[in-house]
């Protein structure tokens, strides 16, 4: 801390931008005792992700993922959302900033508006709907999206007839709660906060600039974000794929890539990082919506560099029949009379062709906001060359002004999980800055008293969700609700459009009260993600949260039985009926809490592990750093420079020194974990060197290894080396001048059995090529590649390498270069797929770009902590989009190469994220224990000891009376004890035998016991 003058630390953080990155940061901070002020320019939070239909590579519904987060942010007692607001000035120092906020009038009262929408129906003014990308109209009083948070309507003052011309007031007349405030005015106020997080998100390229593509002229040329809305169930066509000109179903659909990206003349020089994947996703989802569609993607380079991305593209090609054509479209013209579009492009053999398509989607790229420079000025931070926030490779979420952090696309183009990880990372950075002020500005949650329903007869309320059309396209939800209303014990049964949206939740709360419901079922998606949300909802209505069941009729019904509406509806009814049978028997559960050991353990002492350990230690927690080797540093010890020229060696040395000097970091080198017992908040670990310690959280940063090739004569010749060897030679000073270096990419990557991209090799090749050319302009470098994947702002360096005269030769995987090493010369023959002819080179040195592999210890660690890995052997996170650094096992987090191949800056971001998540956990003195645990009835127990022998967690024990007792604190509720107990003295809450029997009976109600 260089600001010695001011020792004030405030326990609050200001976040500008309520997209997914801002929301993640807000939740991490608010959950760990910081007050959060979220400043949002629009009338609702949600950001870009809320506009998307599905996400790659899992095809998960975007709204279904983000909506619960929006609800959580909206209802969090420690988060204040300031909508229609902007920051106009920032003064102060880290720990104590004074921020001026200007808030535009909403003209509708948050307190009085119920979100019923009566005003919107009556409003006579129609306006182009920006959220729907101009594909539909909205009213002058409106809600940006159906799931808006806050759900208070807003009046668009530029469109409102009354505000413009002084008469109308239709909304006011029809508002049942008098919530309209025409006299509302602009407000300006000051907020005092300790840290600032910038997450303003992105702007998109305006494709009208590239007139030859016809956007704005031909109505069937749409942007990729418009196509997301076309795909969306809540979009202008309700998820049916239609083209704008005549609302016909298009058959041939073309995607044109790199519109607004990788084009310094007409657009932006950088690569937007996500378009290859989103186009693939859109093509796949379009095909799923309408099997007759024939998708073609026109692309320059397939940049599927992320975890499991290449496999997704392969699936798109092989399973969905998406055609990928490596060509740049030079011209899009409308065919007179048909509204079809004629695309002109050069085929791979060079021949010009014209091909007709029904619909064209332009994959438009990301760019900073038009006011990004002004934004930088207000916050006093430096922008980089391209107007994104300036950061460094080693501090990727720190802006140039201390105490102000950046996350998401304002730092550079990136996808959702990286944005979420940076959200947790900036939360961690803020916690490290403000640690001691934690808990000083928050308010405790006040819940209504719990109603005692134990003696009451069951009155089950059933809410069957449409989930847009996700469920209702395959399941007749109204029929399900109607059939279920006749089940015994069901007091109320109806359907809801989006049960998880704020209005849906409010409705559930109201109906619980109105119908005196004492047990609730929501029939929608999986309990694995949505049950906690609804449990909170019913708790708000005064019900114990264990009086709830989620009937999974989406993942386990509508999505598996598409196009079979009758059977799917019957199955959905059966699923709900089974849950009704169980729910009737549910009983309230009282939950316990446990103390948390506020220490962390980090496995792996590379960049990820050291960064993570230091961040946790800076947050105020003691950390045990366990490294298997005798020295810290990991793979980075062999790396000299990053792509932008930053010095990795001194960074690593510096980190090692910091780790060793930090009073709260205990380093255990030459040791591995031999055993960890316990559970979230209370782990106890023994190392192979005999060291023993307790801790509350674990970060797995066990790293990866470099692939050692046997291709292209690597084992036979000293002149065939790896990029790492070359890097070392460059650092030591290249011998000789005017030599020819040839490089071959994707050695050991992107092919079975290692069919994934190692992500770092293109950067390595470009980095080393630039270094060679800068040191020795007489030298020549030729890079043989399949796709150059210099994604994001890394594209600058690809351009630089080409400017320096580095030669790029593209080959196809079926036609790899032939290498012949004789004496001191290496002859390389290849088929240049760009020039469409054989080429031959003689080189002095052949450099292989070898990829990364999972660390051999991964398998052992995965067994030790019961963690899963993906098909390639990298650790699998809890959720690829929204929980990128969490494991499904609670209290364990992942960072670095252990998760997947990545570059240094990404590793640092992820390590900071893991320690942000772990820090949020360790900040709690006590954690609430799950209510789903096994309950032991000592009166029925015979102390046969079966449970004690089989419990993996050691919770049953022999007490002072010589009988079995049960330690509920370490019980995980697995129910093994209940399964083996001959006396049935163990029963698991919410999974009691009578409840399971009831489900079995309900599942078999139509076959009956007569058989």
């Amino acid at each position: 801390m260089n600001e010695k003058k001011n020792n004030v630390k405030r326990g609050s953080v200001l976040i500008t931008g309520g997209g997914i990155g801002g929301m993640q940061a807000a939740l991490d901070l608010a959950d760990s005792g910081f007050k959060v002020h979220m400043i949002q320019k629009e009338s609702s939070i949600g950001g870009t992700m809320a506009m998307l239909d599905k996400t790659f590579p899992t095809g998960d519904c975007s709204m279904c993922m983000i909506s619960p987060k929006m609800v959580e942010v909206g209802r969090h007692p420690n988060i204040d959302i300031h909508t229609l607001s902007e920051v106009t000035a920032v003064e102060g120092v880290p720990g104590d900033f004074q921020v001026t906020v200007k808030e535009q009038p909403r003209y509708v009262s948050h307190e009085l508006c119920t979100g019923c929408g009566a005003c919107e129906k009556k409003c006579p003014k129609l306006v182009v709907n920006d959220f729907e990308q101009g594909l539909s109209k909205r009213k002058a009083i409106f809600s940006v999206l159906p799931q808006a948070v806050p759900h208070t309507r807003v009046i668009d003052p530029d469109a409102c007839i009354y505000l413009q011309r002084g008469r109308c007031k239709a909304c006011e007349k029809f508002c049942p709660t008098d919530a309209i405030l025409f006299e509302d005015t602009e407000k300006e106020y000051r907020l005092d906060v300790g840290a600032i997080i910038l997450s303003p998100g992105l702007a998109r390229y305006n494709p009208e600039i590239r007139g030859e593509l016809g956007f704005g002229r031909w109505s069937n040329v749409v942007t990729s974000i418009q196509f997301e809305r076309i795909l969306s169930a809540s979009g202008p066509f309700m998820g049916e794929i239609k083209r704008p000109s005549d609302e016909r179903h298009p058959r041939k659909v073309a995607w044109i890539q790199c519109v607004g990206s990788r084009d310094p003349r007409n657009a932006n020089p950088w690569c937007s990082s996500v378009c290859c994947m989103y186009a693939t996703k859109q093509a796949v989802i379009a095909k799923e919506h309408d099997g007759a569609i024939e998708p073609t993607v026109f692309y320059m380079e397939m940049r599927a560099f992320g975890k499991d991305f290449d496999k997704y593209v392969d699936r798109a090609k092989n399973q969905y029949g998406v055609t990928y054509r490596r060509a740049m479209v030079s011209d899009v013209r409308q065919e007179p009379g048909t509204d079809n579009l004629i695309l002109r492009y050069a085929k791979e053999d060079g021949a010009l062709v014209d091909e007709s398509y029904d619909l064209v989607v332009l994959s438009i790229g990301f760019q900073p906001h038009p006011d990004a420079l002004e934004f930088s000025h207000i916050f006093g931070i430096e922008p980089n060359l391209h107007r994104f926030a300036k950061t460094t490779q080693f501090d990727p979420v720190d802006t140039t002004r201390p105490g102000i952090y950046v996350t998401g696309t304002f730092q550079g183009p990136k996808d959702i999980p990286e944005t979420v990880a940076q959200g947790s990372a900036v939360a961690g950075r803020s916690m490290a800055l403000l640690g001691e002020a934690r808990g000083t500005e928050i308010t405790e949650v006040e819940l209504p008293p719990e109603l005692d329903v134990r003696e009451e007869e069951a009155r089950v309320g059933v809410f069957v969700c449409h989930c847009g059309i996700n469920i209702s396209q395959s399941v007749d939800v109204k029929k399900v609700a109607e059939d279920i209303s006749r089940e015994p014990g069901v007091a109320y049964s109806d359907d809801l459009m989006y049960a998880c949206a704020p209005d849906g939740q409010e409705k559930i709360k109201e109906l619980i009260k109105e119908h005196h419901l004492n047990r609730v079922i929501v029939a929608s998606c999986t309990p694995r993600t949505h049950a906690p949300l609804f449990q909170d909802t019913i708790r708000d209505a005064g019900l114990n949260k264990y009086l709830f069941e989620l009937a999974d009729i989406r993942e386990q019904c509508s999505w598996c039985h598409m196009g079979q509406k009758e059977v799917a509806t019957r199955k959905a009814t059966d699923i709900v009926r089974m849950n009704v049978a169980k729910t009737r028997l549910l009983q309230p559960v009282e939950t316990d809490s446990i103390a948390v050991i506020s220490k962390g353990m980090v496995i792996g002492g590379g960049i990820a592990g050291m960064t993570s350990a230091l961040s946790l230690a800076d947050q105020g927690y003691e950390v045990h750093l366990v490294e298997k080797e005798d020295q810290l540093g990991g793979l980075a010890r062999n790396v000299y420079r990053t792509l932008d020229g930053s010095d990795v060696q001194s960074f690593v040395k510096d980190k090692i020194a910091q780790v060793k000097a930090h009073p709260r970091v205990v380093v255990h080198t030459g040791a591995e974990v031999s055993n960890t017992g316990g559970y979230i908040g209370n782990f106890k670990t023994t190392l192979t060197n005999g060291d023993e310690f307790e801790h509350g959280a674990i970060v797995v940063a066990s790293g990866g290894v470099e692939y050692e090739p046997d291709e292209y004569g690597f084992k036979d010749s000293d002149q065939v080396i790896t990029q790492r060897d070359l890097e070392k030679r460059i650092a030591e000073g290249l011998a000789g001048t005017g030599k020819h270096y040839a490089m071959i990419q994707c050695v050991g990557s992107r092919e079975e059995p290692f069919n994934y991209c190692s992500r770092i090799c293109c950067q390595d090749a470009v980095k080393n090529a630039i270094a060679i050319k800068e040191k020795d302009p007489a030298a020549s470098v030729t890079i043989f590649y399949r796709d150059i994947r210099t994604y994001g702002l890394r594209e600058d360096y690809y351009q630089k390498a080409r400017d320096l005269g580095v030669l790029f030769v593209r080959f196809d995987v079926e036609n790899k270069p032939d290498v012949d090493v004789t004496g001191s010369k290496i002859r390389i023959e290849a088929f240049d797929a760009v020039m469409n002819r054989e080429v031959a080179f003689t080189a002095d040195c052949l450099v292989l770009s070898t990829g990364l592999r999972p660390h051999p210890s991964t398998e052992r660690i995965s067994k030790q902590y019961k963690l899963t890995t993906n098909a390639d052997g990298y650790f699998l996170e809890a959720h690829v989009k929204l929980r990128p650094v969490d494991f499904p096992s609670e209290g364990i987090y992942v960072a670095g190469l252990a998760h997947a191949p990545k570059n240094v800056d990404e590793t640092v971001s992820q390590a900071l994220a893991a320690s942000g998540r772990a820090g949020a956990l360790l900040s709690h003195d006590r954690l609430s224990v799950s209510g789903i645990i096994s309950k032991h009835n000592r009166d029925m127990c015979m102390s046969c000891l079966m449970c004690m022998r089989l419990c993996p967690f050691g919770s049953p024990f022999i007490d002072e009376d010589g009988k079995i007792s049960h330690n509920e604190v370490i019980c995980t509720g697995c129910g093994i004890c209940a399964g083996v107990c001959p006396a049935k003295a163990f029963q698991v809450n919410s999974f009691r035998d009578d409840q399971i029997f009831a489900m079995i009976d309900a599942a078999t109600h139509d076959i009956g016991a007569s058989v």
Partner: protein, 92 residues
């Protein structure tokens, strides 16, 4: 089982043994009813993933979520067969 085999089985038993029910013909429109017990953490998650990946399977499979397949109790298996299910799938 053929009639001959049944006779052989019968012949091997003492007279008090209850007669073994002959195997019935399967009606052409018959669909088996399958009940699955799935672990919350893996198999239930896998069933969710099947949905996310839009994999299609027979709608005659109904899933009962358990906190762990270790929770399975012989009485659940007995009850399910008593109630007439044709197959039971325990996954975890």
């Amino acid at each position: 089982m053929t009639a001959q085999a049944q006779a052989a089985v019968k012949g091997a038993k003492t007279e008090e043994a209850p007669p073994i029910e002959p195997v019935r013909d399967i009606p052409t429109d018959w669909e088996p009813s399958v009940l699955a017990f799935a672990c919350h953490y893996c198999a239930f998650a896998a069933a969710d993933l099947a949905g996310v990946m839009r994999l299609s399977y027979s709608p005659n499979v109904k899933i009962i979520r358990l906190p762990c397949t270790g929770k399975i109790d012989h009485s659940y298996v007995m009850r399910a067969f008593e109630r007439g299910v044709d197959g039971l799938f325990v996954a975890g």
